[in-house]
Amino acid sequence: MTRPPSGSATVTAPGAARTCHHGCARNSGGPGGGATSSQHGHADGEPGNPGPAADPGTGAEPDVRFTLANERTFLAWNRTALALVVAGLGIVQLLPPFPGVPWGRHALGVPLIVLGAVVSVTAYLEWRRNQTALRRSEPIPQSLLPRILVVTITGVAALSAVVLLVSAVR
């Protein structure tokens, strides 16, 4: 297999062929272009899903458009993380205190800030994992981030209802 020089990658022309780590060509663009990763026969005992610590430098350089899309997804998650951090800080510093619940603002704001850090770190691990899957022509593993986000935001929403109720009762 000949690996293209990694420093010379440019946006692939329409219909340009990709090569997987086996050296078999696949068409990355154009109508009816080639097999998908799941259809692509890789029965040599490779692991199905690369773990979070998988090295994104292994395998063959994928179509640069896939690399760029993976990078944009990572950046979008990091902007979400920043929004969560600033929302948490806003709750702690800008909301007036809840009457009778002095811990209320911290209880609602700090989990959002921590969630921001978790989202950012997880986005990096998933970027590495996805890049490794792309380089090995394997299916992209499922993302954990939507689940983490849903669980935490639902928890914070439930907690805010509790804080408001306790504040109204006292």
């Binding site: 430098g57 990078e71 380089r135």
Partner: protein, 103 residues
């Protein structure tokens, strides 16, 4: 003429352009968070604002076509910066209002 299955096949350069714009949006987000923090926490806000040109430069000058390890390092820098902002925010949430605390 039949349209290609992937719209990017019409103009493949748009992928690189959209990625550059995504880096710029991320840098702007850092700037906005820094400005928002500046009022209550001047030191933390200034630190976050200082990260803004760094993020912009990472997107502008480190090519997406760089070797894989170099690409991984620059994305790791973004993660470190966002995690740093979160740590500053937690500290600010618990120990008060920056310089104004000492007035």
């Amino acid at each position: 003429m039949a349209l290609p299955e992937d719209p990017e096949d019409l103009a493949p350069g748009t992928a690189a352009e959209r990625t550059r714009l995504a880096w710029e949006r991320t840098a702007i987000a850092f700037g906005a968070v820094g400005l928002a923090m500046l009022r209550g926490e001047p030191v933390a806000g200034a630190l976050v604002l200082a990260a803004t040109p760094l993020i912009w430069a990472l997107g502008r000058y480190v090519s997406s076509a760089a070797p894989p390890q170099q690409r991984a390092r620059r994305l790791l820098l973004v993660t470190v910066a966002v995690t740093g902002v979160a740590v500053l925010a937690v500290v600010a949430a618990f120990i008060g209002h920056g310089l104004t605390r000492f007035r």
